[in-house]
Structures are given as C-alpha cells and as structure tokens.
C-alpha cells in the first residue's frame, strides 16, 4: 500500500509538471481553457443513483436517462436550436409516403459494444419486447402508435401476442413500421431513448443485462459501483456523427443537488447539470464564465381543476377569470428576483425550441397588468368564493414562487390566494390523480419530442391520462383531430398552432415560465452543452490536461 501511495504521488507530480510545460509551451487554439485538450481525458459528471436498472425502455428518471444517452444511439436525432431538423444517426433514412407506413434503412457496419452487428432484428425485437406489458417497461406506452400494440399491451389482462403486427423486417438493414393511424411527426418520436436497439444477448437475462448494459452508442459500459459511480469509456469503433471527444465519463453519485454543486465547486467533480435553489443567487459569482445558462423546452403552469365548481368548461366568462388571474402575475419580477433568473417568462402553452412554437401567443394575457386584471375579473362577475388555492409539493423548491404568485393575485385582484402545500411529490400526485385538488395545482411539462403536439395533446385532450385538470373542449379536440389527420407535418403543426390559439381563449392552464438549464463546470473541462431536456451532451465535452 505504502508503495502504491508514493507511486501515486510521483505520478501526480509528473502530471503537474507536464501540465505546467503544456501551459508554457503551447498557445494555439484554446480561448477559454488553460492547457491542452486531452482527447483521452476522462471527466466526472455529478449524478444521482439511477432508479432501476439500465434497460433503455425502462428508464424514466434523469439519472439513468443520462447513462442511457451515452450507451445508446437512436435511429435519428434532431437539432436543438428550434429548427428541429432530423439528423440521421443509426438510420440511413426514415421515409414514408403516407405517414402510416415508415421505412427505416439502417447504416451498415454499425456494431454493438460486444461486436454484434446492429440489424433490423436488433430494433424490431427490442421494440416488441419493450411494448409487452409483461416485461414491465415504464416506457412501453411509447410504442402505442404501432399497429398491433394492443395485442402485446392490452388495457386489461394478459397480452395476446408477442409481436406487433406493424413491424416487418425486409432485410438485415431495412424494416417497415406500420402505424394504427398516420402520424406525421413519428420520425421525431424515434429520437427518444425508449427506441434503442438491443443485442441478442439481452433476451438471455434481461435483468442481468440491466446491470451491465451493452449498447450501440458513443460510450461503452465499464462498471457500476452501486451508490458510488458508473464508469463509461469511449467506444472507439463508433460510427455515428456524435463520436465522443473525450476518453470517457464517470457518473459519480451525490445524494443531493447541494452536494453535487459542492463537489464541482471544490473541483472534486467536473459538471453539475442543475444548480440547487440554495445556490442560484450566487452560482454565477462562484463560477464566473463557467456558469451555464441554456434554454430548455419545458413549461411550468398553474392548472385549474374543472371538477371544482369554481371553474366551468365552455363558459366564456369563467375563462375570463383565469385570464384576469394570469394578468395579475408579475412573471418578470418573480423569475428575476424569486427564481434568480433561472426561468424565462412564458408567453404560450408550448415550450420553446420545438416545431410550432409561437412566441407571444398568449398576448396581453401573459403581460403584467394589475388594473386590467382587476377589471377583467370584476367584469366577469368575480371568482366564485373569491378564494383560490394553489397546490404544490413542498419538497420541490416551489414554495417561494407559489407564495410570490399568491401575493400578486391577492394584492392586484383582491382574490384571496392560499398556497396549499402537500408534504411531498407523492402526496401531491396522489391528490391530483384522485381528483381531490381544491382549486388549482402546480403543473409542469418537459418535452418528449420536439413538436408542439407534445405540449398539448397529452395535457388538454379530453380524457388523456395526464390531463388531471380534466379539461375538455370540443373545439380544441376537433383542432387536435384536424392536426392528427393532416397530410404532412406542416399541416399538423399548423392545426396545433390553431389549437394553441383556442387554448388561449379557454385557458385550461395559466402558463407561468419556461424552464432553463442552470449548470456549472470545473476548470478541467470545456464545451459543456445541454439538450432541450437538460441532459448533458457528454460526447461534446472536452477535457483539459
């Protein structure tokens, strides 16, 4: 041991010496970092312990999601700057004539980390397995568009089949997907990690595979020390456009956001993907130009529950009340002062950077105007009971802004507003699912795929599972239908944009602000970028020596 330790000292002395000479000898290229980029350097990303094993279709928490994103590549990806153009990754092409049958051609020569070739079968088998109710994959509903889904995933009882009839293998590198109905944006959905291919070894023992996953992505799995760290290493035979520019990643477990922040602040780790509320006021000071603010695509809102007598469906005057409440909220001041610039005031129901995003669709409804707010509510006959509650979970750092919103409403409209704290997220969700919310609740949505449809259909369609405000509107449903049956993507997006305008009339929710990425990194790394759901783009990170 003693020998090993002193060897370590010598080694680190050499590293320091090398770094010092590198600093002195080379002045080309690097603008914001010291030293040179080490293409084989490994960086440490703060993470929490994944909830569940690392089967791609089973990952719903951010901790496992981040690992899966390194291990697996999808057929396609999309640009994150709002243009949302399809980028082909594992697929050569994904094409359709009628939006109902999609033909996927795979790039040749792609291999899993264990050497097995990635073929049509790798995809088709994986999707059939993941969609099957019996395999208990949390993302199984992602396959619901495919013909024959109900056979493997019935609403009740055991599955009738093992395979979805809509998936057909043409040859090793071509397969077709037939859908129940045309979906013009289906190719965008394919970018989600639930659609990962799986090697044939997976089916021998899916559980064991989940502890030691083999993927087709830019990183291969090295080890998982539970509650300590997961180690990934660059996959040198990787053929995709997102080849890793570093040697590997260690995803180190820190049990709280505060500890993750502390670890990066003390240079024990290199990237923290989310600054805890406690440190928001000072993280720009702590990290200077190493603090990162990046756009995300997610929206936070307060949602009225229409089973409460206070709120009425299809009643114009009642909708005016919600517009009035919305105008009473000073979004700019709250995002600046209470949320320390970590959020951006919302101007619509759809998160930014997705297809069909309409800046300012809410118009004056999202603008702070105390006089008009008061007048609008008075003209509409006042809020029944003159009192509202805003339910939120006390364990999510929402208390401060909910109180600020309530103060706004109380002062500007005279409507009594009471923050209704539930102990934790579980209790909050439970109350929402059981239709027991008193008046309004805090809701949020982060994109699954970059089309405006994603922000509306799941939340506002009559009877949708996540529509826990129980909103229902014939007009909106019709516009959704129109969008779903449109001939092309453009038609869908336009119809949904119309639907969003209709939502402004009916106000099924009061959008507050868009989410944003607040992150920071150590002196050792640069090129730290994020996708629209706050996942670190690990392959882009450059490590300095």
């Amino acid at each position: 041991m003693r020998g090993a330790k002193s060897a370590k000292w010598v080694a680190s002395a050499i590293v320091v010496a090398l770094a010092a000479t590198a600093c002195g000898g080379n002045d080309s290229g690097n603008d914001n970092g010291k030293g040179e980029v080490d293409p084989n350097g490994v960086f440490r990303l703060t993470n929490s312990e994944p909830q569940g094993n690392l089967q791609p279709a089973n990952s719903r928490d951010t901790a496992s999601g981040q690992v899966i994103k390194g291990l697996f590549s999808q057929l396609v990806d999309y640009t994150k700057d709002g243009s949302a153009e399809i980028v082909y990754v594992n697929a050569e092409s994904v094409e359709t004539e009628d939006n109902k049958t999609w033909t996927v051609k795979l790039k040749k020569g792609w291999k899993f980390h264990d050497g097995e070739e990635v073929t049509s079968k790798s995809y088709v088998d994986a999707w059939n397995w993941a969609a099957n109710t019996e395999n208990n994959q949390k993302n199984s509903y992602w396959f619901a568009d495919i013909k024959g889904y109900k056979d493997v995933h019935p609403d009740k009882g055991k599955p009738k089949a093992k395979e979805m009839s809509g998936l057909k293998i043409v040859d090793d590198h071509t397969f077709t997907i037939e859908l129940n109905e045309p979906v013009t944006y289906f190719n965008y959905k394919l970018a989600y990690s639930a659609w990962s291919p799986l090697p044939s070894k997976f089916y021998d023992d899916p559980e064991a595979y989940g502890d030691k996953p083999v993927g087709n992505g830019p990183y291969k799995f090295v080890s998982w020390e539970r509650k300590k760290k997961i180690t990934l290493e660059r996959f040198d035979d990787y053929k995709g456009p997102d080849k890793a520019e570093n040697g590997g990643v260690e995803l180190v477990v820190y049990n709280t956001l505060e500890n993750q922040y502390q670890a990066v602040y003390s240079e024990k780790a290199d990237v923290v993907t989310m600054v805890p509320p406690r440190d928001l006021p000072k993280y720009r000071q702590d990290f200077g130009d190493r603090a990162i603010d990046a756009p995300m695509s997610g929206v936070q809102q307060i949602v009225p529950v229409f089973y409460n007598k206070q709120w009425k469906l299809g009643d114009k005057k009642n909708a005016e009340l919600r517009k009035g409440l919305s105008m009473a909220i000073d979004r700019k001041t709250i995002t600046d002062k209470v949320l320390h610039g970590s959020r951006v005031p919302a101007t619509g129901f759809v998160g930014p950077n997705v297809l069909g995003f309409q800046e300012g669709v809410l118009g004056e409804v999202a603008e702070y105007n105390p006089e008009k707010a008061k007048k609008t509510i008075e003209d509409a006959g006042g809020v029944p009971g003159n009192k509202i509650h805003i339910q939120y979970n006390a364990d999510g750092g929402h208390k401060e802004w909910v109180e600020a919103v309530c103060n706004n409403i109380r002062q500007n409209t005279g409507v009594e507003c009471i923050p209704d704290a539930k102990v934790d997220f579980q209790t909050d969700l439970n109350t929402r699912d059981a239709d027991k919310v008193k008046s309004m609740y805090r809701g949020a949505w982060v994109l699954d795929y970059p089309v405006n449809v994603n922000f509306m259909r799941e939340l506002y369609e009559t009877g949708a599972d996540s529509n826990t405000g129980r909103f229902s509107s014939k007009k909106v449903d019709e516009l959704f239908k129109k969008g779903d049956s449109a001939k092309d993507l453009d038609g869908t997006v336009k119809a949904y944009q119309e639907a969003e305008k209709q939502l402004v009339e009916e106000m099924p929710a009061i959008p507050l602000w868009y989410y944003a990425t607040n992150a920071a990194h150590s002196k050792k790394v640069k090129n730290v970028e994020f996708d629209l759901a706050n996942f670190l783009l690990m392959h882009k990170v450059k490590v300095m020596n």
Partner: protein, 309 residues
C-alpha cells in the same frame, strides 16, 4: 445469568412482530402510490402501472401483503424495492457497513475525548479547565447538527483544504473523520458532562479516602476506584447513544454524501418503499434491543453488587 439473557432474547420476538406490523400499517396509510410516482409529471400508462403492481404483489389486500412479507423473512427475502428493483436485503447489506463504520468512529471519538474531557473537568471542578470544558460542551449542545456540519465543511474543506468536503469512498477513514466528528459532537458533550459530575461527586466518596489512605498509587486510585465507579451513568448514556448512531444520522449523512442507513431510510420514506422502511426500522429496533441488553449486562461487570438471576 444464562436464563436472564434467554428471557430477554425471547422478548424480542413479539417486539419484532409488533414493530413490523405497525410500520407496515403506517406505510400503507401514507398517501401516494410508489409505482405511479415513477412516472412523475409526464405521460402515464395505467395498464403498465397495474401490471407492475401485480408483479410486485402490491395489488393484494393489506393483510395478504403483510403475511407474504412475514413468510418471506425466514427465507431471507426482505422484499424488493419498487424503484430500483433490487432486493431489500441487498440494499441493507450495502448500507449497514457504511453506517457501522461511521457510527463506530463517532463512538470512539465520543468515548475517548468525552471521557477524557469529563475526567479533567471533574478532577479540577470549579477551576479554569472545568470552565473551558463546560463552555465548549455548551456550544456543542446548543448548535444544531446541520449548522455544525456546514461550518466544518466550510472551515476544514473549503477554506483550509484539509479534507474532502464530501465522502466519495466510504471505506476511506480519512474522509469519514469529519462527519464522524460532527456526529459525535453532541454525545461527546453529554458524555463529558456526565463524567464530570459523576467524578466530581465520587471524588469525595468514602472508598476514595480509604484508597488514598491505604497509600495506593494515584494512577490506580483514579483508574480503578474512581473511574470504574463513575462509569455507570455514562455507560447507560453510551448504550442509548450507539443505538442512535447506528439508526443512522439522516442529517449528517445527507450533508456529507454518505449512503448509509439514514439516507436509505430517508429515500425509502420519500418514495414510499414499504418493505425497505419496514426492514430498516426493524433492524434499528433490533440493534436498540441488543445494545440495551448489552448495557444491562455491563452494569454487573462495573458494579459487582448488581446481579441477574
């Protein structure tokens, strides 16, 4: 003595069943659905939620779930975690050594420093060393643990850079030292004060005068006659204390990133992991019972007048 121990051990069985049943009922009464919560704010799928519940046996009536749990125990089956899919036995087996290491380190610090401080103060009662000890211990007692934790982190790691602010490797005793000190601070203060008053009192006892009059060397008088007789209240306190330390220091483990019993229990409660909470709480109760039995037996060693029949 043997019969006494056997009786105490047998008493643990009804306590064990009672505790598991109570905790089971309490977990069931909490609002929230652990499987539903896996889906969070985003899209949900009722058919899959139902299937996962059926797979874990969470759709059965409560009494049946409890019986399944009880009958699983003799086979070493403590249930399965809902979120992670890991056997609860494995989770506990991973967390227990970490907490044990931290607890023992904290316990050692408590005993060594606490008793030493108490002896010095007790022997010099009323003079300046005594005043210093009383003042320092007062500080430890009055400052809440989490404040102390953040102060230590700020001073010793961020400013002085002596040690890592967070524990990455729980087998590295150097990293565990700071959290152990934080954890030990409160008990250390109590032990010092208990020892001090006990020693200050016994110093004037008759047997002390006799021992000194017999001409025994001072070291023997202090260590055998004085210390041993003064230890009974301290041992009582230490017994309860080691139970508390083992039960997991939720706050300290949270601040210093230690994944022991405390943080497991916290996460499990938060996620409504019924079988994990039952397993952990039962374990903690058993540790308490075992330690209190040990303490009772220790009394007889310290004071030969105490006997168990």
């Amino acid at each position: 003595m043997g019969r006494y121990v056997a009786r105490r051990l047998l008493q643990m069985i009804p306590v064990f069943i009672g505790v598991t049943l109570l905790v089971f009922l309490m977990m069931y009464a909490l609002p929230g659905d652990p499987v539903r919560a896996l889906y969070g704010d985003q899209a949900i799928d009722q058919a899959q939620i139902a299937a996962i519940k059926a797979d874990l046996g969470l759709d059965l009536p409560l009494w049946q779930q409890y019986l399944n749990y009880l009958f699983g125990l003799p086979r070493g089956d403590f249930g399965t975690q809902i979120a992670t899919g890991l056997p609860v036995g494995e989770v506990i087996a991973r967390a227990l050594p970490i907490t044990a290491r931290l607890a023992l380190l904290a316990f050692l610090i408590t005993v060594v420093i606490g008793v030493a401080m108490g002896m010095i103060a007790g022997l010099k009662a009323g003079r300046w060393p005594d005043t210093i000890v009383l003042f320092v211990t007062l500080l430890f007692i009055s400052v809440p643990v989490f404040v102390l934790g953040y102060i230590y982190q700020y001073v010793f790691s961020n400013t002085l850079g002596w040690t890592s602010p967070l524990v990455n490797d729980s087998e590295d005793l150097g990293e565990l030292l700071m959290p152990a000190f934080v954890l030990a601070s409160l008990s250390l203060a109590y032990v010092a004060r208990l020892t001090r008053s006990s020693i200050a009192e016994n110093r004037r006892a008759d047997y002390m005068r006799t021992a000194i009059a017999k001409g025994l060397p001072q070291r023997r008088v202090l260590s055998v006659h004085l210390l041993r007789n003064s230890m009974i209240p301290v041992v009582t306190f230490l017994g309860v204390d080691i139970g508390t330390l083992m039960a997991g220091a939720v706050v300290t483990e949270g601040i210093f990133n230690i994944n022991g019993i405390g943080s497991e229990l916290f996460t499990a409660l938060f996620r409504r992991e019924g079988s994990t909470v039952v397993g952990l709480v039962t374990l903690i109760v058993i540790i308490y019972l075992a330690v209190s039995l040990l303490v009772d037996l220790l009394y007889a060693v310290l004071d030969p007048r105490i006997r168990y029949a």
